[in-house]
C-alpha cells in the first residue's frame, strides 16, 4: 500500500506487525479521540517502610528478574555524556539476557559502546527518536534482527500509552534522588536539567530503577519523578558526564552562512505577522536553528515585544531571554546544556514538562499545539517540503525525529532553515531519502540561496512579499542547486526494511531500507 506521500508501506512487517500508512497530519486527530485502545498502567503495592535501596545496579537489575525478550527503557537527557545505557546493557548481556528491545527516548554517539550487543543478539530491536554514530550505521547495514522504529517525542508517549512500547524495565538516571526514588535532574554534580522524557517511562514501566550519583536527604526537591512509581534506587559513582550534554547540535553556530540563514529566518518570522505580544517560540537544535533566537531577541527588544513562552529543548540562550523578560515562561522538556539546570531549579516560570504534555498528539492539547513559531533544521528537504532529519547521504541513520514533526504540525508558522547544499551534496532536492515530517506541516524554507513558501500558504507568501522579502519557487531552487552539485546519486539499498519512521499518530510515513554495500 502507498501512504499519502505515495511511499510504499508494507501491510505487515516481522517484528512489528500490521502497519498503517500515513494519511495526513491531522486525519487521526480530527476525530477528537484516539481509536487505538490505551493500555492500563501497572498498579503495584509496597509494604510500609520497605527499603528500595540496592547496593549496585546489578543487584537492582537482578531484583527485577530480567528475562529474554524484555523491553528496557532509558531517557537521553545526558545526551553525549550518558553512561548508563552501556552499563545497564552490559550487565544484562553478562547475565546472558537475549532478544532485548531497547526503547530509549533517543540514542547518541555516546552509545557507540553498545554496538557489540546489536550484533550478538543481546539487543534485537530499537525504538528511539534518533540513532546516530556507529549504531545508526549498523542499523542501516542490517545489524538488528527486527526493524528499528523511529518515533517523535510526542509519538513515543502515544506508543507507551497504547502498549506498542511495553516497557518491562525503565532505568532512569537522576542527578539527585532520595531513598524512595523521588528524583530530579535539576541539581547535583551531574545536573542535566529536565527529566521530561522519563516521566512516561516511570508511569508505565512494569518496574522502574532510579540510578543516581547523588543521594540526597529525603525528600528530594523538586520531584521531577515521584516515589510512587519507583521500585528500586541505586547509588553509583557517576551517571555520566554532564559537560558533554551540550554537543555540536546544541550550540549557536558561528558559521557565517548559518548566521546569514538565521538572520533571514528572523526576518521571515517578523514579516509573517506572528512576532507580536504573547508570541510563543521554539527553535530546534543544530546549525542555523538555534541562531535564529539571537536575531529574534534583537527584534523583540527593538520593538518591545513580550512573548508568552519558549518551548522545547532549552538552551542557556533561552534562559537569557527569560531573564530579560522577553518571554514570560519556558516549558522545558529537555535541557540542552547543563547551565540550564539552575534556572529550571530556581525560576518558577522555567517549568519542567513531561513529554506527553510537550507533544503527545492524543490528549486535550499538548504544548506544541499552542506554538506560534518553530524553527527547525533539515538534513534534506524535497520540492514538496517533506523533510528528512533521520538518514544521511550514505543512507545511514544519523539523526533524530525528536520534536520535528510534533512542533511542525502544531505551530502556526513552521520555518525550516538549512543551507541549500553541503559540500557537493544537495539539501534541497526533488526527493528526500527518508521523510520524517510531511511537507504539509512546513510553511517556509529559508536557505542562503532563497526563501520558499509552501504553496498551501498563499497568504503567508503575500505577507512576506509585502514585507519586502523575495520568495522563490522551491522547484526552481532545487534545479538551481542541482546545477551546482550535479544530480545526487541515489543511495543504493536492498529491499530489506531495517527501520520504519512512525508519524506522531502511529502511522508509517516512511521506511528505511538496508544500504547496499
Amino acid at each position: 500500500m502507498k501512504n499519502k506521500l505515495q511511499i510504499d508501506i508494507p501491510n505487515e512487517l516481522d517484528g512489528i506487525g500490521r502497519l498503517e500508512p500515513f494519511q495526513g497530519a491531522f486525519t487521526k486527530l480530527k476525530k477528537g479521540w484516539m481509536e487505538e485502545e490505551t493500555v492500563p498502567p501497572p498498579n503495584k503495592a509496597k509494604m510500609p517502610h520497605a527499603s528500595k535501596m540496592c547496593a549496585n545496579l546489578k543487584e537492582a537489575i537482578l531484583k527485577t528478574k530480567p528475562y529474554n525478550g524484555m523491553t528496557i527503557s532509558f531517557h537521553h537527557h545526558l545526551r553525549g555524556g550518558d553512561n548508563l545505557v552501556y552499563e545497564a546493557v552490559k550487565i544484562l548481556a553478562d547475565l546472558g539476557i537475549k532478544d532485548i528491545t531497547l526503547a530509549a527516548s533517543s540514542l547518541t554517539t555516546a552509545h557507540d559502546p553498545i554496538l557489540p550487543y546489536f550484533k550478538d543478539g543481546t539487543i534485537t530491536q530499537v525504538y528511539a527518536s534518533g540513532v546516530r554514530g556507529e549504531l545508526g550505521k549498523a542499523v542501516a547495514q542490517g545489524a538488528l534482527e527486527k526493524p528499528l522504529v523511529i518515533h517523535s517525542h510526542g509519538g513515543r508517549v502515544r506508543s507507551v500509552h497504547t502498549g506498542k512500547i511495553k516497557i518491562d524495565l525503565a532505568i532512569l538516571a537522576a542527578s539527585a534522588a532520595d531513598e524512595e526514588g523521588n528524583a530530579t535532574g535539576s541539581h547535583g554534580p551531574s545536573a542535566f536539567g529536565s527529566m521530561g522524557y522519563a516521566a512516561i517511562d516511570s508511569w508505565y514501566a512494569r518496574q522502574v530503577i532510579v540510578v543516581t550519583d547523588n543521594i540526597v536527604d529525603y525528600p528530594c526537591v523538586p520531584q521531577s519523578i515521584t516515589q510512587n512509581y519507583i521500585d528500586y534506587v541505586v547509588k553509583v559513582d557517576s551517571i555520566g558526564d554532564p559537560s558533554k550534554i551540550a554537543g555540536g547540535t546544541t550550540r549557536i553556530t558561528r558559521a557565517p552562512m548559518d548566521l546569514q540563514i538565521a538572520r533571514l529566518a528572523a526576518q521571515v518570522i517578523e514579516k509573517s505577522g506572528e512576532l507580536k505580544d504573547g508570541f510563543s517560540f521554539q527553535v530546534g537544535a543544530g546549525g542555523a536553528s538555534l541562531a535564529v533566537a539571537k536575531y529574534i531577541r534583537k527584534i523583540m527588544k527593538q520593538r518591545s515585544i513580550k512573548g508568552s513562552f519558549l518551548l522545547g529543548g532549552v538552551t542557556s540562550y533561552g534562559v537569557v531571554m527569560l531573564n530579560e523578560g522577553l518571554f514570560r515562561s519556558i516549558f522545558d522538556v529537555q535541557s540542552f546544556d547543563a547551565a540550564v539546570s539552575s534556572s529550571l531549579l530556581n525560576n518558577t516560570y522555567h517549568i519542567e514538562i513531561p513529554a506527553g504534555l510537550y507533544a503527545n498528539p492524543f490528549n486535550c492539547g499538548c504544548m506544541t499545539n499552542k506554538l506560534d513559531v518553530v524553527v527547525l533544521g533539515a538534513l534534506e528537504i524535497d520540492t514538496n517540503f517533506n523533510v528528512n532529519v533521520i538518514t544521511g547521504s550514505e543512507g545511514y541513520v544519523r539523526g533524530a525525529s525528536g520534536g520535528h514533526s510534533d512542533t511542525a504540525s502544531g505551530a502556526n508558522l513552521t520555518v525550516v532553515v538549512c543551507p541549500s547544499f553541503r559540500g557537493r551534496i544537495p539539501i534541497v532536492k526533488e526527493k528526500v531519502h527518508t521523510v520524517v515530517t510531511p511537507g504539509e506541516s512546513i510553511d517556509v524554507l529559508v536557505t542562503e540561496r532563497g526563501i520558499c513558501v509552501n504553496p498551501a500558504r498563499p497568504e503567508l507568501k503575500a505577507n512576506l512579499e509585502a514585507g519586502g522579502i523575495k520568495v522563490k519557487d522551491i522547484k526552481d531552487l532545487a534545479v538551481e542547486v542541482e546545477k551546482i552539485t550535479g544530480k545526487a546519486k541515489p543511495i543504493e539499498t536492498t529491499d530489506r526494511i531495517v527501520g520504519i519512521v512512525e508519524y506522531r499518530d502511529g502511522t508509517v510515513i516512511d521506511v528505511i531500507r538496508q544500504v547496499a554495500e
Copy 2:
C-alpha cells in the same frame, strides 16, 4: 459472609455488584501488586490552537453531552465554602438529567442545597470520602436509590484506577486558570491551596471542565492541573467562599479537655521513641488531633529535633513549623485554611501532592507508607481499637473516612485521640456502630481518662511505661465509661443497606444500614 472483623457483608449488593470482605490491612498489599485490573486512561485529541473557553458553566456542560446514568466528580478543596457542586448539579437537573452518580472526593454541609436532587432521582448514588449535614442524614434515612460508597482518600484513587468509579465528567474548581486549563488553587482571590484530590479526576475522567473565577495570562503557574487533561475552561463570578475552608474541624481547639488529651498524646509520642531527627508527622483534622502539633512543636524545640516531613491536610500551624525549620518539608494533599496557599505557592519545600502519591495503597510507595507518627480523631472506638469516623450517635452519616485508614496503616505509630465520652454518649465502647479503620492499625488511644495500648504492640506499652506513662486496658476503660454514661442504646436500623464502607484496598470493612425512625 463475615469479614475479618466478624461483620456480615453481603456477597452482592444492587447498584454496586460483588463485594469482597475485608481480610486485614495488608492482605492484598503483601502480594506486591494489585490483582484487580486497572483501566486505561482516556486518550483524546485536539486540533492545534482550538479554543477551550466556554461562555458559562451551562455551555461547557452542554458541550460534554450529559446523559442519564452518568458519573460526575468534584474535589472538595473549598470544603465549607464550595459552591460549584450545587451549581453544576442544578444545571444538570434543569436539563432533566437523571440517575447521576456523584463522585465527589468529599461532601460537606456546604452541599446541603443539593438535598432535593437526592430525593427526585437526579442523584441516585454517591461515592465520597465523607458525607455530612442534611445529606448524611438523608442517606442514612434511605434517600438514595443505590448504596453510598465511602472510600478513603487513597482508596478513591484506587477506585478510579480500577474503573470502580468511572468518571464521565469532572468539574474542577480552580482559584486561577489559563485559557488552556492549566490550573491551581494556590493563588487568586479564592485561593484554597492544594488541588491534590483533583489530579486523578483530571487524568481519568472522560471529559474535564476547569471552572475558575480568575483567568490569568497564559501560562498559569504553578500548574497543579495541566492543560493536556482539560477539555473546557469556564470563567464564573465566584467558585465559592475560601473564608469557609477552615471550619470547626480544622482549627486548633481551645477546649481544656481536648488540650489535656493533646498534651498526653504528645508525651506518648515522645516516649514511644519515634520523636527523633528525621521524624515525619501527620495530624488529622478535628478536636484534639490538631492540638497535638502544638505540644510536639514545643518538645521538638526543647530537644532540637529536626523532622523530615509534615504530611496531609495542612494547617497554618504546620506552615509555622516548616518556617521555623522544625520540618524540612510539607507534603500537601489538602490545605485546611486559605492562609496555607501562599506558603504552597512560594516555598519550594511546601509540596503539592496528588492523592495517589499521598495514600493510594497500590503503587510503589505512597507517602502515608513513609509516616512515622499520625494522630487521628474518632467518633467512636471499640475495645478492639476499631474506629468509627463516619456515623454519629443517631446513625446518620456525619463524618469522613478521609486519610484515616490510609495513614493509620502506614504510620509506625498511630495515635487516636478522643474524649472517652461526650455528654452522656460513650466514645470508648464495646462495639462501634460503623468501622472505618481496623483496630490492627491503631497503636494507642489517648483519652482524658487514660491511655490504652493495642495488645499487639507490647514493646510500645513497655516503652511508654518505662517513660512513666500509665497504660490502662481498653476494656477496663470501656467499663469505666459505661458506668458513667450508662449502657449506650444501640442505634435501631432496618435491614436495608444504604451504604458500604470500603477499606482502602477495595474490600468492605462495614456496611451502613438505614436508620429505623
